[in-house]
Symmetry: C2
Subunit: 304 residues, 2 copies
C-alpha cells in the first residue's frame, strides 16, 4: 500500500481513494510531520503555501515522489531529498489562464467595457468593432497556455504566429520579433519569466507595434516595462489587457489604474476553482502510473 | 464579360476586379436603375438596406444571380424575378457573432465586470471564479455560429452539447431539453427565429436550469421571454449575456437595464468591420465559380 500525503482535508476528499491501493494522510507542510505522515511515499505539495523545511522533509523516510500542482518548482529544489522524484503541475492551470487571455483580448476588440458603461446609463448605443477574422496575433510562448490561446483564436480565423525562445516547425524565435511586430494587431504574452524575458516588452518593442495594437499579458508582470506601457496607453496608441502587473499587487494610485484603454484583472488567470479538480485528476493519473511502475508525467527532477 | 452590380463605391473598391472578366457598376437598390445597371447579370444585395422593388428588379433584363451578404433572405423572396438564382451570405457574419458569444460567456464566468468595477476604484481585489474545464454547456443550434462557439469552448475542455431542431449524429433535439437543462451550467442560444423557437426560453425552461447557470443570447431577442428572464435574474439564480433583446432596441428605463448579473451589448454580434471583407471574399469565390460554370455556394432559391 502507498501512503499519500495531501495538504488539506478538502483535497483528501477530492482524491477519494488511492489508485493501486493505499492510505491518504493530511499535512500542510508546516510544523513537524506526525508519525502517520512520516510514512509518506507520495507527497502532494501545498499549492497555496511554500515547501516544508528540508528538516521536516527528511523525516519522511520512505518518500519517493513529490507531486506539485504548480508549473514552477523553484522553491522545492533546495529542500528536495536526494533520490526523490519531483513532478510539476504542467497543464493544471493552463486552460483557465488561456481562457482569461481570450476573454481579455475579445473584451478589448469588441469594446465590452464601453458597452458596460452604456448599460450603466441605460443606453442602447451600437458601435462598430473589428473582429478576429484575419487579425494578425503574435502569441509569445509555445507551451500549453500559448497553444490553447492560439487554438481558440484560430476558431475565429485569426492569423496566429507563435514566438518562443527556441525555434520549432511552427514557432518563430524572439530574434524574429523586429520583423513581426510592425504588422501585429495583437501580442499575447504567455512566456515564463526568465533572464531572457524579463523586460522583453520595453519601449522599443511597444514602439514597433502599429497604432491600435493590443497587448495582453497573462504571464508575469516583469516581462513588460510598466512605464513604457503607461506612456503608450496615454498616447492613445495601444490598448492592453493585464492580468499581471509590475509591481504586483498594483498599489492604489498607480498610474496604470487610470491609464486609458487598459483592462486590469488581479492575477486571477490560474486561480480558478477548477485547479483542484484538474490537479487531482493529475494526481490520480500519477498514482495509477506509480502503482503500475510506469513512467510518471511531468518529471522535472530525479528521473524515475 | 459579366456585369456585376454592388451597392456602394466602397464595395466596388473591395471587389477590385471581376474574376473571369467583367465590369462593376454601383447601385444601392433604391430608385430606378440606370442604363448601365440595367445590364447587370450578378447583383450583390445591399446588406444595410432592403431589396429593390419588384419593378426595379424587373428592369435588369439579364439578371442571373442575386448574392446576399446576410443569412436571412425573406425580404427578397417576394421580389425575386423568376429564374434568378438567390444565394445567401451564410458564414459572412458567423465568426464575429460566435466570438462575441464566447467573449460574453467568459466575461460572466470570470467576473470581468466586477474586476472592471474594482479597477474604477483602483482596487486589486482577487476573487475566485470557476472556469470552462468540465463545464456543461448546451449550444442551441448546430450551424456555423453554433459550431464555432462549441469549438472555441472545447479548446478549454468545456463539455459541449449541441441541441437543434433536427437530430444529427452529434446533435440532440429540442425535445431532449427537459433532460438536458437540469445539468447545464450554461446555455448559448444560436438558433434562427422561427415559429418553433419564438418564446422557446420561457419561465419553465429557465426554471429547469440549476442555480448559477448562465444564459447567452446572440441570436434573436424574441427566442427568450424577457419578463421570465428578468424574474430569474432578480432572484439572483441566473446570470445572462444578451446581445439581442425583446424589445429591441431596449428602451431607456426597461427593467433589464438594471437587473443584476446581466451584461447587455446592443446587437453588435455580426456588425463588425470584418463583414465586408468576408462578404467580398465570398462574392469573388462566387464570381469565379460563375465564370467557370461551377455550382454556386449558398444557393437558397432557383438552383443553378
Amino acid at each position: 500500500v502507498t501512503i499519500v500525503c495531501v495538504p488539506t482535508a478538502a483535497e483528501r476528499d477530492l482524491l477519494e481513494d488511492v489508485p493501486g491501493g493505499g492510505r491518504v494522510v493530511v499535512w500542510d507542510g508546516t510544523g513537524d510531520p506526525g508519525a502517520d505522515v512520516a510514512e509518506t511515499e507520495f507527497l502532494v505539495g501545498n499549492y497555496l503555501g511554500g515547501p516544508p523545511s528540508a528538516e521536516a522533509l527528511a523525516r519522511l523516510g520512505g518518500l519517493r515522489v513529490v507531486q506539485l500542482l504548480s508549473a514552477g518548482v523553484e522553491p522545492w529544489l533546495p529542500v528536495l531529498p536526494d533520490g526523490v522524484v519531483l513532478c510539476n503541475g504542467r497543464g493544471v492551470h493552463g486552460g483557465s489562464t488561456a481562457e482569461l487571455a481570450v476573454a481579455g483580448l475579445l473584451s478589448l476588440l469588441r469594446h465590452l467595457p464601453d458597452f458596460a458603461a452604456a448599460q450603466e446609463r441605460g443606453e442602447w448605443s451600437p458601435r462598430t468593432a473589428d473582429d478576429l477574422d484575419g487579425l494578425r496575433v503574435l502569441v509569445l510562448g509555445a507551451g500549453d497556455i500559448a497553444r490553447r490561446i492560439g487554438a481558440a483564436l484560430r476558431v475565429f480565423d485569426a492569423e496566429v504566429t507563435y514566438v518562443a525562445r527556441t525555434a520549432r516547425e511552427d514557432v518563430r524565435t524572439l530574434a524574429d520579433l523586429p520583423h513581426l511586430l510592425p504588422s501585429a494587431r495583437a501580442v499575447v504574452i504567455a512566456l515564463p519569466l526568465t533572464e531572457q524575458t524579463r523586460g522583453l516588452v520595453d519601449a522599443a518593442f511597444l514602439a514597433a507595434l502599429p497604432d491600435g495594437a493590443m497587448l495582453v499579458n497573462i504571464a508575469r508582470g516583469r516581462i513588460v516595462h510598466t512605464d513604457a506601457l503607461v506612456a503608450e496607453l496615454r498616447r492613445g496608441r495601444l490598448s492592453a489587457f493585464l492580468d499581471v502587473t509590475d509591481p504586483e499587487p498594483l498599489p492604489a494610485g498607480h498610474p496604470l489604474w487610470t491609464a486609458p484603454n487598459v483592462l486590469i484583472t488581479p492575477h486571477v488567470g490560474g486561480g480558478t476553482t477548477g485547479w483542484r479538480r484538474r490537479g487531482y485528476r493529475l494526481v490520480r493519473e500519477q498514482l495509477t502510473r506509480y502503482a503500475a511502475g510506469d513512467q510518471l508525467l511531468n518529471v522535472v527532477e530525479g528521473g524515475y
